[in-house]
Amino acid sequence: MVMTFTADEIYEIAEQIERNAAEFYRESAERCPNQDIKNMLLDMSEAESDHLRTFQNMREKLTEEAGLSIFDPFGRSAMYLQAIADARSWEGRINPMQALTGNETVKEIIEIALESEKEMVVFYVGLKDLVYFKAGKDKVEEIIIEELCHISSLLKKLKSLG
Protein backbone atom coordinates (compact mmCIF):
# COMPACT_ATOMS: atom_id res chain seq x y z
CA MET A 1 0.00 0.00 0.00
CA VAL A 2 1.39 3.42 -0.97
CA MET A 3 1.23 6.22 1.59
CA THR A 4 0.09 9.22 -0.37
CA PHE A 5 -1.34 11.58 2.26
CA THR A 6 0.48 14.66 3.45
CA ALA A 7 -0.77 16.72 6.40
CA ASP A 8 -2.10 19.35 4.02
CA GLU A 9 -3.97 16.73 2.02
CA ILE A 10 -5.55 15.21 5.11
CA TYR A 11 -6.97 18.58 6.14
CA GLU A 12 -8.10 19.14 2.57
CA ILE A 13 -9.99 15.83 2.72
CA ALA A 14 -11.60 16.87 6.02
CA GLU A 15 -12.65 20.18 4.45
CA GLN A 16 -14.11 18.37 1.44
CA ILE A 17 -15.98 15.95 3.70
CA GLU A 18 -17.60 18.87 5.52
CA ARG A 19 -18.30 20.80 2.31
CA ASN A 20 -20.02 17.74 0.83
CA ALA A 21 -21.95 17.05 4.03
CA ALA A 22 -23.20 20.65 4.28
CA GLU A 23 -24.31 20.50 0.64
CA PHE A 24 -25.95 17.09 1.15
CA TYR A 25 -27.98 18.30 4.15
CA ARG A 26 -29.00 21.52 2.37
CA GLU A 27 -30.14 19.64 -0.76
CA SER A 28 -31.91 17.01 1.33
CA ALA A 29 -33.71 19.71 3.33
CA GLU A 30 -34.95 21.34 0.12
CA ARG A 31 -36.45 18.04 -0.99
CA CYS A 32 -37.88 17.08 2.40
CA PRO A 33 -41.66 17.45 2.78
CA ASN A 34 -41.60 17.06 6.58
CA GLN A 35 -40.98 20.49 8.19
CA ASP A 36 -39.60 19.04 11.42
CA ILE A 37 -37.02 16.91 9.60
CA LYS A 38 -36.30 19.75 7.14
CA ASN A 39 -35.33 21.99 10.10
CA MET A 40 -33.10 19.27 11.55
CA LEU A 41 -31.32 18.84 8.19
CA LEU A 42 -30.80 22.61 7.83
CA ASP A 43 -29.34 22.79 11.36
CA MET A 44 -26.96 19.96 10.48
CA SER A 45 -25.95 21.72 7.26
CA GLU A 46 -25.05 24.81 9.29
CA ALA A 47 -23.08 22.70 11.78
CA GLU A 48 -21.09 21.07 8.96
CA SER A 49 -20.31 24.53 7.55
CA ASP A 50 -18.93 25.50 10.98
CA HIS A 51 -16.79 22.35 10.96
CA LEU A 52 -15.51 23.31 7.51
CA ARG A 53 -14.38 26.70 8.86
CA THR A 54 -12.65 24.97 11.80
CA PHE A 55 -10.69 22.68 9.49
CA GLN A 56 -9.81 25.62 7.21
CA ASN A 57 -8.40 27.48 10.23
CA MET A 58 -6.44 24.43 11.32
CA ARG A 59 -5.02 24.02 7.83
CA GLU A 60 -3.90 27.66 7.80
CA LYS A 61 -2.23 27.14 11.16
CA LEU A 62 -0.50 24.08 9.75
CA THR A 63 1.13 26.25 7.10
CA GLU A 64 2.24 28.78 9.72
CA GLU A 65 3.84 26.04 11.79
CA ALA A 66 5.61 24.49 8.82
CA GLY A 67 4.10 21.04 9.25
CA LEU A 68 4.77 20.65 12.96
CA SER A 69 1.08 20.05 13.62
CA ILE A 70 1.26 16.46 12.44
CA PHE A 71 2.89 13.69 14.48
CA ASP A 72 2.74 10.16 13.15
CA PRO A 73 6.20 8.59 13.64
CA PHE A 74 5.13 5.07 12.68
CA GLY A 75 2.70 6.10 9.97
CA ARG A 76 -0.10 4.20 11.72
CA SER A 77 -2.67 6.97 11.56
CA ALA A 78 -1.88 7.64 7.91
CA MET A 79 -2.31 3.91 7.20
CA TYR A 80 -5.66 3.98 8.98
CA LEU A 81 -6.89 6.98 7.01
CA GLN A 82 -5.69 5.32 3.82
CA ALA A 83 -7.58 2.14 4.78
CA ILE A 84 -10.77 4.13 5.41
CA ALA A 85 -10.35 5.79 2.02
CA ASP A 86 -9.66 2.46 0.28
CA ALA A 87 -12.60 0.77 1.94
CA ARG A 88 -15.01 3.33 0.58
CA SER A 89 -13.52 3.63 -2.91
CA TRP A 90 -14.12 7.34 -2.49
CA GLU A 91 -10.53 8.44 -3.20
CA GLY A 92 -10.38 10.02 0.20
CA ARG A 93 -13.63 11.89 -0.04
CA ILE A 94 -17.06 11.25 1.37
CA ASN A 95 -19.64 12.42 -1.10
CA PRO A 96 -23.12 11.43 -0.01
CA MET A 97 -24.57 13.49 -2.90
CA GLN A 98 -23.43 10.73 -5.24
CA ALA A 99 -25.91 8.42 -3.55
CA LEU A 100 -28.92 10.68 -4.25
CA THR A 101 -31.16 10.08 -7.25
CA GLY A 102 -33.87 12.54 -6.24
CA ASN A 103 -36.41 9.79 -5.63
CA GLU A 104 -35.37 8.87 -2.09
CA THR A 105 -37.85 8.69 0.74
CA VAL A 106 -37.19 10.66 3.94
CA LYS A 107 -36.21 7.39 5.59
CA GLU A 108 -33.68 6.62 2.85
CA ILE A 109 -32.17 10.12 3.10
CA ILE A 110 -31.75 9.70 6.86
CA GLU A 111 -30.09 6.30 6.34
CA ILE A 112 -27.62 7.80 3.83
CA ALA A 113 -26.92 10.64 6.27
CA LEU A 114 -26.40 8.14 9.08
CA GLU A 115 -23.80 6.17 7.11
CA SER A 116 -22.03 9.40 6.14
CA GLU A 117 -21.94 10.57 9.77
CA LYS A 118 -20.41 7.24 10.87
CA GLU A 119 -17.80 7.61 8.12
CA MET A 120 -17.00 11.10 9.40
CA VAL A 121 -16.56 9.83 12.97
CA VAL A 122 -14.19 7.00 11.96
CA PHE A 123 -12.18 9.39 9.76
CA TYR A 124 -11.90 12.10 12.43
CA VAL A 125 -10.88 9.56 15.10
CA GLY A 126 -7.85 8.88 12.90
CA LEU A 127 -7.33 12.57 12.12
CA LYS A 128 -7.32 13.44 15.82
CA ASP A 129 -4.39 11.10 16.34
CA LEU A 130 -2.40 12.96 13.71
CA VAL A 131 -2.94 16.40 15.16
CA TYR A 132 0.08 17.28 17.27
CA PHE A 133 -1.05 20.29 19.27
CA LYS A 134 -3.56 19.87 22.11
CA ALA A 135 -5.78 22.76 21.06
CA GLY A 136 -6.13 21.11 17.65
CA LYS A 137 -6.92 17.72 19.19
CA ASP A 138 -9.60 19.37 21.31
CA LYS A 139 -11.16 20.98 18.24
CA VAL A 140 -11.30 17.65 16.40
CA GLU A 141 -12.73 16.02 19.55
CA GLU A 142 -15.47 18.68 19.66
CA ILE A 143 -16.32 17.99 16.03
CA ILE A 144 -16.45 14.23 16.73
CA ILE A 145 -18.88 14.86 19.60
CA GLU A 146 -21.06 17.02 17.37
CA GLU A 147 -21.11 14.30 14.70
CA LEU A 148 -22.09 11.79 17.42
CA CYS A 149 -24.98 14.11 18.32
CA HIS A 150 -26.00 14.15 14.66
CA ILE A 151 -26.05 10.33 14.71
CA SER A 152 -28.28 10.45 17.82
CA SER A 153 -30.71 12.85 16.15
CA LEU A 154 -30.80 10.87 12.91
CA LEU A 155 -31.39 7.57 14.68
CA LYS A 156 -34.19 9.07 16.76
CA LYS A 157 -35.88 10.45 13.64
CA LEU A 158 -35.43 7.10 11.90
CA LYS A 159 -37.08 5.36 14.82
CA SER A 160 -39.97 7.85 14.83
CA LEU A 161 -40.60 7.07 11.15
CA GLY A 162 -41.06 3.40 12.02
Binding site: M79, A87, K118, V121, L148
Partner: protein, 161 residues
Protein backbone atom coordinates in the same frame (compact mmCIF):
# COMPACT_ATOMS: atom_id res chain seq x y z
CA UNK B 1 -33.16 -5.04 23.66
CA UNK B 2 -33.15 -3.04 26.89
CA UNK B 3 -31.81 0.51 26.75
CA UNK B 4 -28.45 1.03 28.48
CA UNK B 5 -29.42 3.55 31.14
CA UNK B 6 -26.48 3.03 33.42
CA UNK B 7 -22.77 2.27 33.35
CA UNK B 8 -23.28 -1.44 34.00
CA UNK B 9 -25.58 -1.82 31.00
CA UNK B 10 -23.32 0.24 28.76
CA UNK B 11 -20.32 -1.97 29.56
CA UNK B 12 -22.48 -5.08 29.12
CA UNK B 13 -23.29 -3.79 25.64
CA UNK B 14 -19.58 -3.25 24.88
CA UNK B 15 -18.81 -6.77 26.10
CA UNK B 16 -21.51 -8.18 23.83
CA UNK B 17 -20.12 -6.28 20.83
CA UNK B 18 -16.70 -7.83 21.49
CA UNK B 19 -18.16 -11.30 22.14
CA UNK B 20 -20.03 -11.12 18.85
CA UNK B 21 -16.90 -9.81 17.13
CA UNK B 22 -14.84 -12.79 18.28
CA UNK B 23 -17.57 -15.21 17.28
CA UNK B 24 -17.92 -13.57 13.86
CA UNK B 25 -14.18 -13.71 13.15
CA UNK B 26 -13.92 -17.38 14.19
CA UNK B 27 -16.84 -18.40 12.00
CA UNK B 28 -15.44 -16.36 9.10
CA UNK B 29 -12.00 -17.98 9.53
CA UNK B 30 -13.61 -21.40 9.34
CA UNK B 31 -15.60 -20.50 6.23
CA UNK B 32 -12.70 -18.79 4.42
CA UNK B 33 -9.43 -20.57 5.34
CA UNK B 34 -7.49 -18.44 2.82
CA UNK B 35 -7.81 -15.50 5.23
CA UNK B 36 -8.25 -17.71 8.31
CA UNK B 37 -4.97 -16.88 10.07
CA UNK B 38 -5.53 -13.12 10.17
CA UNK B 39 -9.19 -13.52 11.16
CA UNK B 40 -8.26 -15.79 14.07
CA UNK B 41 -5.70 -13.21 15.23
CA UNK B 42 -8.40 -10.55 15.15
CA UNK B 43 -10.73 -12.87 17.10
CA UNK B 44 -8.06 -13.16 19.84
CA UNK B 45 -7.76 -9.37 20.00
CA UNK B 46 -11.52 -9.01 20.39
CA UNK B 47 -11.28 -11.54 23.27
CA UNK B 48 -8.76 -9.22 24.95
CA UNK B 49 -11.10 -6.25 24.49
CA UNK B 50 -13.90 -8.30 26.04
CA UNK B 51 -11.70 -8.91 29.10
CA UNK B 52 -10.85 -5.20 29.35
CA UNK B 53 -14.52 -4.20 29.31
CA UNK B 54 -15.39 -7.00 31.77
CA UNK B 55 -12.65 -5.75 34.12
CA UNK B 56 -13.88 -2.16 33.80
CA UNK B 57 -17.41 -3.32 34.55
CA UNK B 58 -16.21 -5.34 37.58
CA UNK B 59 -14.38 -2.28 38.91
CA UNK B 60 -17.56 -0.19 38.97
CA UNK B 61 -18.59 0.64 42.50
CA UNK B 62 -22.10 -0.22 43.67
CA UNK B 63 -23.06 3.43 43.25
CA UNK B 64 -21.60 3.66 39.76
CA UNK B 65 -23.44 0.51 38.65
CA UNK B 66 -26.78 2.12 39.40
CA UNK B 67 -25.93 5.67 38.38
CA UNK B 68 -25.90 7.09 34.93
CA UNK B 69 -22.51 7.29 33.31
CA UNK B 70 -20.81 10.68 33.71
CA UNK B 71 -22.67 12.75 31.20
CA UNK B 72 -23.89 16.12 32.49
CA UNK B 73 -25.67 17.08 29.27
CA UNK B 74 -27.07 13.60 28.66
CA UNK B 75 -25.70 13.64 25.11
CA UNK B 76 -23.40 10.63 25.38
CA UNK B 77 -26.10 8.57 27.05
CA UNK B 78 -28.60 9.49 24.38
CA UNK B 79 -26.07 8.56 21.71
CA UNK B 80 -25.31 5.18 23.29
CA UNK B 81 -29.02 4.47 23.73
CA UNK B 82 -29.91 5.08 20.12
CA UNK B 83 -26.81 3.25 18.87
CA UNK B 84 -27.84 0.26 20.94
CA UNK B 85 -31.48 0.13 19.97
CA UNK B 86 -31.00 -2.41 17.20
CA UNK B 87 -30.60 -0.31 14.05
CA UNK B 88 -26.80 -0.08 14.25
CA UNK B 89 -26.10 -2.86 16.73
CA UNK B 90 -28.35 -5.83 17.18
CA UNK B 91 -26.39 -7.61 19.86
CA UNK B 92 -28.94 -10.38 20.17
CA UNK B 93 -28.57 -11.37 16.54
CA UNK B 94 -26.22 -14.27 15.86
CA UNK B 95 -23.13 -12.81 14.14
CA UNK B 96 -22.56 -16.10 12.34
CA UNK B 97 -25.86 -15.65 10.47
CA UNK B 98 -24.41 -12.51 8.86
CA UNK B 99 -21.97 -14.75 7.02
CA UNK B 100 -24.68 -16.77 5.29
CA UNK B 101 -24.83 -14.57 2.17
CA UNK B 102 -21.08 -13.94 1.96
CA UNK B 103 -19.55 -16.06 -0.77
CA UNK B 104 -16.01 -14.70 -1.10
CA UNK B 105 -13.17 -13.71 1.26
CA UNK B 106 -13.34 -10.17 -0.22
CA UNK B 107 -16.99 -9.86 0.83
CA UNK B 108 -16.29 -11.02 4.37
CA UNK B 109 -13.29 -8.67 4.74
CA UNK B 110 -15.41 -5.70 3.58
CA UNK B 111 -18.14 -6.70 6.00
CA UNK B 112 -15.60 -6.96 8.81
CA UNK B 113 -14.34 -3.44 8.05
CA UNK B 114 -17.93 -2.17 8.32
CA UNK B 115 -18.39 -3.89 11.68
CA UNK B 116 -15.12 -2.43 12.97
CA UNK B 117 -16.30 1.05 11.90
CA UNK B 118 -19.56 0.57 13.83
CA UNK B 119 -17.54 -0.46 16.90
CA UNK B 120 -15.34 2.65 16.64
CA UNK B 121 -18.43 4.86 16.32
CA UNK B 122 -19.94 3.24 19.46
CA UNK B 123 -16.73 3.43 21.50
CA UNK B 124 -16.22 7.10 20.52
CA UNK B 125 -19.47 7.76 22.40
CA UNK B 126 -18.56 5.37 25.21
CA UNK B 127 -15.29 7.24 25.78
CA UNK B 128 -17.22 10.46 26.35
CA UNK B 129 -19.43 8.74 28.92
CA UNK B 130 -16.73 6.97 30.94
CA UNK B 131 -15.66 8.91 34.03
CA UNK B 132 -11.98 9.46 34.86
CA UNK B 133 -8.86 9.62 32.75
CA UNK B 134 -7.91 5.97 33.35
CA UNK B 135 -11.21 4.72 31.99
CA UNK B 136 -11.09 7.05 29.00
CA UNK B 137 -7.53 5.91 28.25
CA UNK B 138 -8.61 2.25 28.24
CA UNK B 139 -11.44 2.94 25.82
CA UNK B 140 -9.10 5.09 23.70
CA UNK B 141 -6.63 2.17 23.52
CA UNK B 142 -9.39 -0.16 22.35
CA UNK B 143 -10.43 2.40 19.72
CA UNK B 144 -6.81 2.51 18.49
CA UNK B 145 -6.71 -1.29 18.28
CA UNK B 146 -9.96 -1.36 16.31
CA UNK B 147 -8.39 1.22 13.97
CA UNK B 148 -5.46 -1.19 13.64
CA UNK B 149 -7.90 -3.97 12.74
CA UNK B 150 -9.22 -1.86 9.86
CA UNK B 151 -5.64 -1.41 8.61
CA UNK B 152 -5.00 -5.18 8.83
CA UNK B 153 -8.29 -6.04 7.09
CA UNK B 154 -7.64 -3.47 4.37
CA UNK B 155 -4.12 -4.80 3.76
CA UNK B 156 -5.48 -8.32 3.41
CA UNK B 157 -8.17 -7.05 1.06
CA UNK B 158 -5.55 -5.30 -1.09
CA UNK B 159 -3.54 -8.56 -1.19
CA UNK B 160 -6.56 -10.42 -2.56
CA UNK B 161 -7.37 -7.89 -5.28
Amino acid sequence: MSMPFNADEVFEMAEQIERNGGKFYRAAAKKFPVVGKVLLELASMEDEHLKTFADMRAELSDTEVEELVFDPDGQAQMYLRVMADGHVFDTKADPVEKLADKDTPEEVLKMAIGLEKDSIAFYAGLKEAVPGKAGKDKVENIIKEEMGHIVILNQKLQDLV
